[in-house]
Symmetry: C2
Amino acid sequence: MGAKKNYNDILKNRNLKVTKHRYAILESLEKSKLPVSAESLYIELKKKGISISLSTVYRSLEALYKKGIVIKSILPDYNKAVFEYNHNEHRHHMICIKCHKMQPVTGCPLEEYEKLIESKFNFTVKGHNLEVYGYCDGCESKTED
Amino acid sequence: MGAKKNYNDILKNRNLKVTKHRYAILESLEKSKLPVSAESLYIELKKKGISISLSTVYRSLEALYKKGIVIKSILPDYNKAVFEYNHNEHRHHMICIKCHKMQPVTGCPLEEYEKLIESKFNFTVKGHNLEVYGYCDGCESKTED
DNA sequence: TTTGTAATTGGGAATGATTCGCATTTGCAC
DNA sequence: GTGCAAATGCGAATCATTCCCAATTACAAA
Ligand SMILES: [Zn+2]
Ligand SMILES: [Zn+2]
Ligand SMILES: [Zn+2]
Ligand SMILES: [Zn+2]
């Protein structure tokens, strides 16, 4: 939360111009506990009285994603991308099969695994994608077909 | 490869009717080393002389996915779903950021992690999704912007 | 502060993957 | 063999995302 100035630097350091839109997007994402879709972010910004177009939201998110400032993921049952601020405290999510709720889990069990892959195959690891599926607290008792 | 009869049982056990299309899809997926998109599978089946519609390919894959017979995943940079046969030898993939090649890696580093999650949160784990990103053997020397 | 230029944006159209609707066909239990 | 629910074909519809292009803006250099 050394916020304000921070976003400017983050953007500048990655050769992205500082605009009020990007600023607002980062602010919104950083506050959000959970990953959000482009559209829901768009709606949220509108509610805050920010004038922005959906295209811009998509473009900004994509730019931020390419620079590693945000994390993008697409879930096989919820066919759209969701974005979250890349708090560098690496984290993953538990996703409920039933209600689609996502819950963050900090920490990562993959450090050794990545090293293993790098040495075993000739592959330079740059990151990974991990989500755990199952039934959340509330949906526990439900069984599927 | 106790193949032939096998698919029939797999389908029947999950309350899916046995049709030549599903049979062909499973056969194709099981042989494939790498995950394939619905469309490329469709094209492949056509080449084999099988008469099928793209809708059916989508519907069948979705049905097989819901039953756990195939695995579905969507990659954030290649915006479409890919499917692979669920060899129960659990595996994951390394995906090249540059050429999009996917390479399977058998084995899983997440058993303990899942137990941890189940006990720590009140969450019933049913599965997970893991891909490792980076540069493959051939694309090694390439840097991004 | 002013100017020049490339990056960013709006808004709407285009795209492309996936799903849907509905008439027809097929699997399979009885 | 019959009957019915499930599966299919094919085209239309949907929906997220990208693209186009003219107008605006950020910001570096003067
Ligand atoms: Zn739930
Ligand atoms: Zn991790
Ligand atoms: Zn590669
Ligand atoms: Zn695994």
